[in-house]
């Protein structure tokens, strides 16, 4: 990316496809496809270029802690003899994991330095992972840095949240909608809970941090369900998200009965693949690829095609995004989150006129739940129909009854350590039904309370038994909305198991889509990642 663009990043772009439009990059798991879209009726939405990062992130963090929103400065909340707990986002943020120093490390070191100055002895750090898998020591080291890890992990003061610890959770009360609110006991009984967020998308942060990240299944089930998802338009748009409404109700209970909370939220820019380097080409617009970019892409493409999938995965898992922090806010939860969301949307929002018949998307190798792991078919569905489909404000990009075409290899493979319950969900339950409501009614409780899954969640590195249900619910709104889902280049057997249709090429997929939406449909392609959010009028 040219330096002048970095100084004045261009906003997102909606480009109509004509005959001179070059083939367009589609992410395709651990690989890529170059596809031509039909001219005259297709458009491509490009994300905004990366906003400038803060010139002095350390000073910005310090300033946020000393001048918080609707709160006393952090140092005045700290005193000797107090019980301080610092909770932080887990491995699912940011995506891909960022280069060192991670934002969590920057923020937590400054919080701890103030705690050290105040003489606070009793400090615990908790990875607020809800029902996600535990973070490994290496992952914690990466997120928090060597200094914090070495100071707290050896004495057991740095650990993962355990939602199934019978003595480790407390009930804080019920909302006016009779939703139970639970919280990690250590956090709930602290004199101050500091929560450190990385807000990658508009969904993150706010009361969702504490009400979800430090809760257990009994509490999460009130908003992680089919009804909530189908009533959110979308869950990326908090005012219209039933998921967030529930979290905010739970937040009111936490505010009344829980610990004082000092919320710290941060945002990053769209610099996912770097301004230069081997992947820089992935965040450039195709007609601006230089000879060097094209050579790099061809070499990378050929190399990846020659390598087995596991090796490709290993290569991509090495990538650490050079994200830059664009803002940091601290203080009371609500004002902090309002400010943060505005900063997230400033990077992601792209105005789009009207809906489309067919929405195409190239799904990359990573989603929040397969960091250092395998992107199994359920996560493909979750990423496409959950995250990408819901990255809108106003109304969905695709009209009701329209078609989504996703590009991904969708291999029938699972990580046996990270996703054990996914295997049973995919092989047993989806063979019977793909209806989220039916799955929820018949099987959720069984998987959620299965002792073996609980054991693996607590002692191994497995996602909770109920997690594949949540992934499936994540796409419930899209499943309800769409007429058909087609997967290009996917394993036909795995694609059909999920109730979708496989296609070998994009042309075939568009032909199949015309059966549903009629001939010559309008087509919109979201050029994501880097992340964009369509503001659909």
């Amino acid at each position: 990316m040219a330096v002048e663009h970095r100084k004045a990043p261009r906003p997102g772009l909606v480009m109509d496809v004509d005959r001179s439009t070059p083939p367009i990059l589609f992410h395709h798991g651990e690989g890529f496809r170059l596809e031509r879209l039909p001219p005259g009726r297709s458009r491509i939405i490009y994300p905004a270029e990366p906003l400038a990062g803060l010139s002095d992130p350390e000073e910005a963090i310090r300033d946020a802690l000393l001048n918080p929103l609707d709160s006393d400065p952090l140092p005045s909340l700290l005193r000797p003899g107090m019980k301080l707990t610092i909770a932080f986002d887990d491995i699912s943020l940011p995506l891909p994991p960022m280069r060192r120093p991670d934002i969590r490390q920057r923020v937590i070191e400054q919080v701890l330095d103030m705690a050290a100055a105040a003489g606070v002895d009793d400090v615990h750090l908790i990875a607020a992972l809800a029902l996600h898998r535990r973070m490994t020591d290496d992952e914690l080291r990466h997120a928090l840095g060597e200094r914090v890890f070495d100071a707290f992990a050896p004495q057991g003061a740095l650990y993962n949240h355990d939602a199934e610890d019978p003595d480790g959770m407390v009930e804080l009360g019920r909302t006016d909608h009779d939703e139970l609110v639970t919280m990690n006991r250590r956090a709930a009984e602290s004199d101050l809970l500091v929560y450190v967020n990385i807000n990658l998308v508009a969904m993150d942060g706010g009361w969702k941090s504490t009400a979800t990240g430090l809760a257990d299944y009994r509490s999460l089930r009130h908003h992680h369900n089919v009804g909530t998802m189908q009533n959110s338009r979308s869950f990326m748009d908090r005012p219209r998200s039933e998921l967030h409404h529930s979290n905010w109700r739970q937040g009111a209970v936490i505010k009344a009965n829980g610990p004082p909370i000092f919320q710290i939220e941060t945002t990053v820019n769209n610099n996912t693949f770097g301004y230069d380097g081997p992947l820089a080409v992935l965040q450039k617009r195709e007609w601006e690829w230089s000879a060097r970019d094209r050579a790099t892409f061809m070499a990378m493409h050929a190399g990846l095609k020659a390598m087995p999938p596991a090796a490709c995965r290993g290569v991509f898992n090495q990538w650490l995004a050079p994200y830059e922090m664009t803002s940091v806010q601290a203080g009371a939860v609500e004002p902090v989150h309002e400010s943060t969301t505005a900063n997230v949307l400033a990077q992601h929002l792209v105005p789009v006129q009207g809906q489309t018949d067919v929405l195409t998307m190239g799904l990359p190798y990573i989603c929040p739940y397969n960091v250092n792991s395998v992107m199994n078919p359920i996560l493909v569905m979750c990423l496409g129909l959950g995250y990408f489909f819901n990255l809108y404000r106003g109304q969905p990009l695709v009209r009701e009854g329209g078609v989504v075409i996703m590009s991904h290899p969708t291999r029938w493979e699972f990580h046996p350590v990270h996703h054990p319950s996914y295997i049973d969900f995919f092989e047993q339950l989806l063979a019977e039904t793909t209806d989220p409501a039916e799955l929820e009614a018949k099987y959720e409780a069984q998987f959620a309370t299965d002792e073996w899954y609980v054991h693996l969640y607590r002692t191994s590195y497995a996602y909770h038994g109920v997690h594949p249900f949540y992934m499936w619910y994540w796409g419930a709104h899209a499943l309800q909305w769409l007429g058909r889902v087609i997967v290009v280049g996917g394993d036909p057997k795995a694609v059909r198991r999920m109730g979708f249709q496989p296609a070998s090429t994009l042309s075939d997929a568009l032909e199949m889509a015309s059966d549903v939406v009629g001939p010559s449909p309008t087509i919109t392609h979201v050029h994501n990642p880097p992340i964009l959010m369509a503001d659909v009028e």
Partner: protein, 318 residues
């Protein structure tokens, strides 16, 4: 006395045949003229000490050569001798341009250890402040130090404008500087009070100072020893320091010393405990207790207690 003497090079050279000896036996014009009486001879420009010209060592060819040395044999040597544990380089992530690295100093190994530890982009555009009376006492030693380490002569025994101007000019040109504010290696295992050179250059040039603590190098090759004893060393980079508005160099030098002291505490305990003690001004001291010699040695404790080079354990460590 100098590094050539310490390493025995002077003795070796005296035994080799001298190509100029035959010429010196000849008379003028084969040899230099004698100076007539009553004539004030022109003062020859100093070609050693602070007068040693090191410009050539920062040209392209010398830098390539030095990079090959640092990344090749020097890195291998450091790995074999010191098995270094490097931490804190992430604290430099937001820095750009020239930096002054200020470190404690125990051993000849320190410079090699730091040159292989300082992260890019500073590693290969850095000069090392070296004692002009020691490393630049003769032209061979000076050239070797300039080529291998990027050394520049620093006057340490008296106040001199020349070395300060040289260092400041290089910093202004974008070169980073590695300097040992103690002025020399530790004579007894404890640190020495920090002098104001690093702080002065930071104030003058407006660049940050990165405090660095080196641990364990004294045990590997302390002052006075000619053969190293392999061991384990640590390198801890601290958060960059900048002079406060209106802060003068002596006060800033104290802060740099305090930062290195806190890093020493961090390296030997853990970060949070060290921060607690730093905020309570209880990080200890680099220079050790101001008591008798044997009690200072005793206070060092552990394997650093003995100054003997013997590898066999002694009482009370048996």
């Amino acid at each position: 006395m100098g590094i050539a003497h310490d390493l025995g090079l002077v003795r070796i050279r005296s035994r080799l045949p001298s190509p100029t000896r035959a010429l010196r036996a000849r008379s003028f014009p084969l040899r230099a003229p004698t100076v007539p009486g009553g004539v004030e001879p022109l003062e020859a420009p100093a070609r050693t000490g602070t007068g040693f010209d090191t410009d050539w060592s920062r040209r392209w060819a010398a830098r390539m050569c030095r990079a090959a040395i640092v990344e090749g044999p020097m890195r291998a040597m450091v790995q074999v001798l010191a098995s270094p544990h490097r931490t804190g380089a992430d604290r430099l992530a937001d820095l750009d341009g020239a930096i002054i690295f200020a470190s404690n100093h125990h051993s000849h190994l320190d410079t090699s250890l730091l040159l292989t530890s300082i992260p890019e982009p500073w590693r290969h555009k850095i000069v090392v402040g070296a004692a002009s009376d020691y490393f630049f006492g003769n032209r061979v030693a000076g050239a070797t130090a300039a080529l291998m380490m990027g050394a520049i002569p620093i006057e340490r025994s008296r106040v001199g404008r020349r070395s300060a101007d040289l260092a400041a000019g290089l910093i202004d040109d974008g070169w980073s500087l590695l300097i040992y504010p103690e002025g020399g290696r530790s004579p007894d295992g404890w640190g020495q009070p920090f002098r104001g050179g690093a702080a002065y250059l930071s104030v003058r040039c407006g660049v940050p100072v990165v405090p660095v603590h080196l641990g364990g190098t004294g045990a590997i090759m302390r002052k006075g020893r000619t053969m190293p004893r392999p061991g384990e060393a640590s390198v801890t980079f601290g958060a960059p320091l900048r002079p406060e508005p209106g802060e003068r160099a002596p006060r800033f030098a104290v802060r740099i010393e305090e930062a290195v002291t806190a890093l020493a505490d961090e390296a030997s305990t853990d970060w949070y405990s060290a921060r607690r003690r730093a905020h309570a001004s209880a990080s200890g001291t680099l220079t050790g207790p101001q008591v008798g010699v044997w009690r200072r040695q005793w206070a060092l404790g552990g394997p650093r207690r003995s100054l003997s080079s013997s590898r066999s354990p002694r009482w009370p460590d048996l």
